[in-house]
C-alpha cells in the first residue's frame, strides 16, 4: 500500500480530517465587503424604514451587511462614514444590504438657539387637570400661560439626524472577536449582598432589558462567581465606548414618586407606559434651557407616563387632604387655574431626589393615570446641558420601563477598550503567532534535520489552532486576551507532546533495536508521558475556572478544551502519521 493510501485510510487520520473540515465549516470563512449592522437606534430613520436590530447571539457571518448607501458602494467603515456624512434632510436614502433594500427618510435635526436679546414671552405651565368625559375622570395636561421676560429663541434646522445605524467591518468568519480584539466596554458588577439564583436571573434579564431599551443590542450579560461564593455579573458591550452604560447598570433603579413621604407610585409595575417619542418626551419646550446663577447652563426634560389605576388612586388619596396655595410669594392672589397644592410631588431614583414638582389645584383628590415626569441636566455650555438632560432622561425612561433590581449592585471593574487598539491587537497577535511558528519550526528543523518531521509538527500546530478556533466559533465564545493566552498554552503543550512522541518513536530507529520495542509499544510509552502532562494541566486549570470573578475563566476553558482535543484527536493522528511516514 502506498503511503498516501495508508494515510487516508487510517482511522485516526480520518477522524482528524473530519474535525478539521467541521472546524472550517464552523468558522465559515468567506470573502465579503461591506459593513455589518451592529445595532439600530430606536425611532431612527433606519428603524422606521424596517431595518431590525440583530439578535444578541447571532452568528457573526449571519449579520446583515450593508453593501450600498445611496449610490456609493460600501466596502469599509470609512466608506460608510463618508456616504452618510453629507445627507440632506427629508430626502430618501436607499440602503442596500445582502438581505434587502431599504428606503430611509433622512430626518432633520432641529436646534433651538437662545439669542442675547430679551423679549416678553408667554410661558406655558403644564398642570394636570381632571376632565370628566362620559362619566369617567381622566387627567389631562392643561396649559396655563404666564408672561415673562426671556431670551429670544429661534429654532433652525442644523443638519440631519443620524440615520441610527451602528456598523462595523463585515466579519469574514464566525469567530467572535472579544472586546480585547474589537474594542468595547466591559463592566463587572457585584451585588451588595448574597443573592439567590432566581434573583440573579432577574438581575441578568433586567440588565439585558435595560441595555436593549437603551438602544444597545450587541450585549452579553453573564454571571460569574468565585471560590468563596461571591456572585458577579459581567456585562460586555461590543464595539463602542459606552461610558453611559456604567451609569445605567450601576443604578439599582428604585424609582419612587412620593407626596409628603407617602410613596404614590414606583417604577416598573406601577407604570404601564413610558412615552419615548419626540411628541411627548425631550427637552421641555416650555422651559427649555437657561443659565444658572453660577454661570452653568441647565436644561429641563420631560416625558409622559401612564400609571396603573391603583397607583393613580394612591395619588388621589395622598392629595385629597392637601391645602391649596392661592397666593404667590408677594401675597397677590393667583388666578384660579394657577393655584397649586401645598405639597410637591417628589421623584426619587435610588433614594436621591431627581425632581420636585408643584401639583395643580385641580388634581386634588383625583385619580390621574397620565402624568408627566421631569428632571434636568447641567453643563458648561448650553448644548452640553441639553445633552446631559437628554442622557438623564433616557436613563430614567429606561429604568422606569425595566423596573428596579432586587438588590443594589456596585461596579467593581470596568474596561473601555478603544476599537483601534483592538484592531491593532489582533494584527499584532497574528504577527506574533506567525513569528512564533517560524521560530519553533526553525528550532525543530535544526534538531531533527528533516523537513518532513518539521512540517508534520507544524501541520499538527496548525490543525490544533484550527480546531480550537472551530470549537470557538461553534460554541460562540469570544476570542479575547484570556482565550489567546489559553490557545498559546494549548498549542505550546501540543508541540511538547508531539516532540515527545517523535523522539520516542525515533528512538532506536526501528523495531530491530536492542530495546526490541515495537512501534506500537513506543507510541504507548510516549502516550504515558503525554497523558500525564495533559492530566496535570487540566487539573491545574479547573480551580482557575471557578476563581476570581471569572476573569480567567476564558483562559481556563480554552486551555482545557485545546488540550483535550489535542489529546483525543490531533496527537493520536500525529502518531499514526508519524508511523506511516517514518517507519521503514
Amino acid at each position: 500500500m502506498s503511503k498516501a493510501k495508508k494515510l487516508f485510510t487510517n482511522t485516526r487520520v480520518i477522524i482528524l480530517l473530519v474535525f478539521l473540515v467541521l472546524s472550517i465549516v464552523a468558522i465559515h470563512p468567506r470573502f465579503i465587503e461591506g459593513v455589518a449592522i451592529r445595532s439600530v437606534g430606536i425611532n431612527s430613520s433606519a428603524q422606521i424604514a424596517g431595518i431590525t436590530n440583530p439578535k444578541a447571539n447571532i452568528a457573526p457571518t449571519s449579520r446583515e451587511v450593508i453593501t450600498t448607501v445611496g449610490t456609493t458602494p460600501i466596502k469599509t467603515i470609512e466608506d460608510y462614514a463618508k456616504a452618510t456624512s453629507n445627507l440632506t434632510a427629508d430626502t430618501t436614502l436607499v440602503v442596500e444590504t445582502n438581505k434587502n433594500t431599504y428606503r430611509l427618510t433622512v430626518k432633520p435635526k432641529i436646534k433651538t438657539v437662545v439669542l442675547p436679546e430679551l423679549e416678553n414671552v408667554t410661558v406655558k405651565e403644564i398642570r394636570l387637570i381632571n376632565v370628566t368625559v362620559n362619566g369617567t375622570t381622566k387627567a389631562v395636561n392643561q396649559t396655563f400661560e404666564n408672561i415673562v421676560l426671556r431670551n429670544k429663541t429661534i429654532t433652525e434646522i442644523v443638519g440631519v439626524e443620524d440615520i441610527g445605524l451602528k456598523v462595523f467591518d463585515a466579519p469574514t468568519t464566525n469567530l467572535r472577536k472579544g472586546l480585547d480584539l474589537q474594542g468595547g466596554t466591559r463592566v463587572l458588577l457585584q451585588p451588595e449582598r448574597t443573592i439567590t439564583s432566581s434573583e440573579s436571573e432577574l438581575i441578568i434579564d433586567n440588565m439585558k432589558q435595560r441595555l436593549n431599551v437603551y438602544g444597545l443590542s450587541d450585549v452579553v450579560v453573564t454571571e460569574a462567581g468565585d471560590l468563596t461564593g461571591n456572585k458577579y455579573f459581567l456585562v460586555e458591550v461590543a464595539g463602542a465606548n459606552e461610558e453611559e452604560v456604567k451609569e445605567l447598570l450601576a443604578k439599582q433603579g428604585k424609582f419612587e414618586a412620593s407626596i409628603k413621604e407617602a410613596v404614590v407610585f414606583r417604577g416598573g409595575g406601577d407604570i404601564t407606559y413610558v412615552c419615548r417619542t419626540p411628541e411627548c418626551s425631550g427637552i421641555d419646550p416650555q422651559v427649555g434651557c437657561g443659565q444658572t446663577s453660577d454661570g452653568q447652563y441647565s436644561c429641563r426634560f420631560r416625558f409622559s407616563i401612564s400609571l396603573m389605576p391603583e397607583a393613580a388612586q394612591k395619588q388621589a388619596d395622598a392629595t385629597k387632604d392637601l391645602a391649596v396655595i392661592s397666593y404667590d410669594s408677594n401675597g397677590n392672589i393667583l388666578p384660579e387655574e394657577n393655584q397649586y397644592l401645598n405639597q410637591t410631588i417628589d421623584f426619587y431614583l435610588d433614594n436621591a431626589k431627581v425632581d420636585s414638582l408643584n401639583i395643580g389645584k385641580d388634581l386634588k383628590g383625583k385619580a390621574v393615570t397620565d402624568i408627566q415626569i421631569s428632571g434636568g441636566g447641567i453643563g458648561a455650555t448650553e448644548p452640553e446641558a441639553a445633552n446631559d438632560a437628554l442622557k438623564n432622561m433616557k436613563r430614567l425612561q429606561t429604568i422606569l420601563i425595566t423596573g428596579s433590581l432586587p438588590v443594589k449592585i456596585n461596579i467593581v471593574k470596568t474596561d473601555i477598550i478603544s476599537p483601534v487598539l483592538g484592531k491593532g491587537f489582533l494584527k499584532n497577535t497574528m504577527l506574533i503567532l506567525l513569528i512564533a511558528v517560524i521560530v519553533v519550526g526553525a528550532i525543530l528543523g535544526i534538531r531533527y534535520r528533516k523537513l518532513q518531521i518539521t512540517l508534520q509538527i507544524m501541520f499538527n500546530m496548525a490543525a490544533e489552532l484550527l480546531m480550537m478556533l472551530g470549537i470557538g466559533a461553534l460554541i460562540g465564545w469570544n476570542i479575547d486576551l484570556a482565550a489567546i493566552a489559553g490557545i498559546i498554552v494549548a498549542i505550546g503543550t501540543g508541540v511538547n507532546d508531539v516532540v515527545v512522541i517523535t523522539d520516542e518513536v525515533l528512538s532506536g530507529g526501528g523495531a530491530n533495536e536492542p530495546t526490541g520495542l515495537t512501534w506500537k509499544e513506543k507510541v504507548k510509552r510516549a502516550f504515558f508521558i503525554v497523558m500525564g502532562a495533559y492530566l496535570t494541566i487540566v487539573v491545574a486549570m479547573i480551580p482557575l475556572y471557578f476563581a476570581g470573578a471569572g476573569l480567567l475563566r476564558g483562559f481556563a476553558i480554552t486551555t482545557i478544551l485545546g488540550a483535550t482535543f489535542g489529546i483525543l484527536i490531533t496527537r493520536p493522528a500525529y502518531a499514526s502519521i508519524a508511523e506511516i511516514m517514518l517507519k521503514e
Binding site: A540, L551, L552
Partner: protein, 341 residues
C-alpha cells in the same frame, strides 16, 4: 532519512556500548576510590563529559538548586516583611485605573509625568511607555483613582497634548476590593491546582520521592520566578497571574518526561535515561523559549509582554530545576534503590 537515522543510532549504540564497558569495569572490578581517580582522566566528547560530571557531582548540584530556592524564598520573605505582599501588585490587582493611549509615538513621557504630577498633586500617577521592538508606540498611565470624573480629567488633560488623530484611548478600571479578592482567589486556585497536580503526579508514578521531586520542581519554578520578577521591579497584573499558572503546565511537562524515563524504563543506565529524556526535554523548552521570546520582542500589548516575560524567566529556571535538581534527586533515588537491592 535512512542515512541520518542509521548513523545517529549507530553512534548512540556505540556510546552505549562504551559506557556499559565503562561501568562494568568500574563498579564491578575496581574499588570505588580508584574508580573516581580513573574517571577523572575524563572521557572525551561533550555529552560524555557531561554525563561523567553528572554522575560525580549530582549531590552537589542539588545543593546549588536548593540554595537558589532558599535565596528566592528569603528574597520573597524580605519583600513580604517590607511591603506586606509577595509581589509588586499592578493596578489590576490593587485597584486603580490604567489609561492607554495606544497611538502617541512622540509624546515625551518624562515631561508628561511631570505635568501630571504638577496638575494632580493629590493622585499617584505613573506614566509608562507602550513599545514594541524598542520603539515607542504610545503611553500607559497608571493611577489609583477609580471615579469616572477623576479619570476623565486625566484623559482630557492628556488628550489636549495629542494631535486629533492620536486621541484614541482605552481605560481599564479595577475596584480595589475586587483587585484584592481576585489576588487572594487566584492564590487559593494556585494552591488547589498544586494539590490536584500532586495527586495526578502521584497516581502516575505511585512512588513518593519522584512525585515529590516533580512538585518541588514546579514549586521552585514559580517561587524563583516570583523572586526575579520582584527583582526586576515588574508590577504584576491579572494576566501576569495567569502566566504563573501557565508555568505550572510547562514545567510539569518536562518533569513527567524525565521521571517516566528514569523510573518507568529499564533500558540503559540511569544517567543514559536522563540524557535521553534531556534531549527531548531541552527541545521542548527551547521551542517554548523561542516562541515566548518572539512574543516578547514583537508584542505591542503590555499584557502579552508581561505574560511572555514571566514565562521566559520561568522556563529558564525550569531547565535548572528539571535537569539539575529533579534529575539529581531521581539519580540519588535510583542509586539508593539499587543499593538496597
Amino acid at each position: 532519512m535512512v542515512g541520518y537515522e542509521s548513523s545517529k543510532s549507530r553512534r548512540r549504540h556505540e556510546i552505549k556500548q562504551m559506557l556499559k564497558q565503562d561501568s562494568s569495569q568500574n563498579t564491578a572490578v575496581l574499588p570505588k576510590q580508584v574508580v573516581v581517580k580513573e574517571k577523572k582522566i575524563a572521557p572525551s566528547g561533550f555529552i560524555k563529559k557531561a554525563k561523567y560530571f553528572y554522575e560525580q557531582h549530582y549531590k552537589k548540584m542539588i545543593f546549588f538548586t536548593i540554595a537558589l530556592l532558599i535565596v528566592s524564598i528569603i528574597l520573597i520573605g524580605v519583600k513580604v516583611a517590607t511591603t506586606g505582599d509577595f509581589i509588586n501588585k499592578g493596578i489590576s490587582l490593587k485597584g486603580g485605573t490604567t489609561i492607554t493611549f495606544e497611538n502617541a509615538p512622540d509624546l515625551d513621557i518624562i515631561k508628561l509625568m511631570d505635568d501630571l504630577k504638577a496638575n494632580f498633586p493629590k493622585q499617584e500617577v505613573n506614566v509608562r511607555e507602550l513599545s514594541a521592538t524598542g520603539r515607542q508606540l504610545g503611553i500607559i498611565i497608571d493611577t489609583e483613582v477609580t471615579a469616572t470624573e477623576d479619570i476623565n480629567v486625566i484623559v482630557n488633560f492628556v488628550k489636549e497634548k495629542l494631535p486629533v488623530s492620536e486621541r484614541g484611548y482605552s481605560i481599564e478600571t479595577m475596584g480595589s476590593s475586587l483587585g484584592n479578592s481576585f489576588f487572594k482567589q487566584v492564590f487559593i486556585a494556585m494552591v488547589i491546582a498544586f494539590i490536584f497536580m500532586s495527586i495526578v503526579v502521584f497516581m502516575l508514578f505511585k512512588t513518593f520521592v519522584p512525585s515529590g521531586a516533580v512538585i518541588l520542581c514546579a514549586f521552585a519554578n514559580i517561587v524563583e520566578t516570583i523572586a526575579v520578577v520582584n527583582l526586576i521591579g515588574m508590577k504584576v497584573s491579572t494576566a501576569g497571574i495567569a502566566a504563573f499558572l501557565m508555568l505550572i503546565g510547562y514545567s510539569v511537562d518536562t518533569d513527567i518526561l524525565l521521571t517516566t524515563h528514569v523510573i518507568k524504563r529499564k533500558e540503559g543506565t540511569v544517567i543514559e535515561r536522563i540524557f535521553t529524556a534531556m534531549k527531548t526535554g531541552f527541545l521542548m523548552t527551547l521551542t517554548a523559549i523561542g516562541a515566548v521570546t518572539a512574543g516578547l520582542i514583537f508584542s505591542e500589548s503590555d499584557v502579552i509582554k508581561q505574560i511572555m516575560t514571566i514565562m521566559l524567566i520561568g522556563l529558564i529556571f525550569d531547565i535548572f530545576n528539571t535537569w539539575i535538581q529533579n534529575a539529581a534527586i531521581l539519580m540519588a533515588y535510583e542509586n539508593r534503590k539499587e543499593r538496597k537491592q
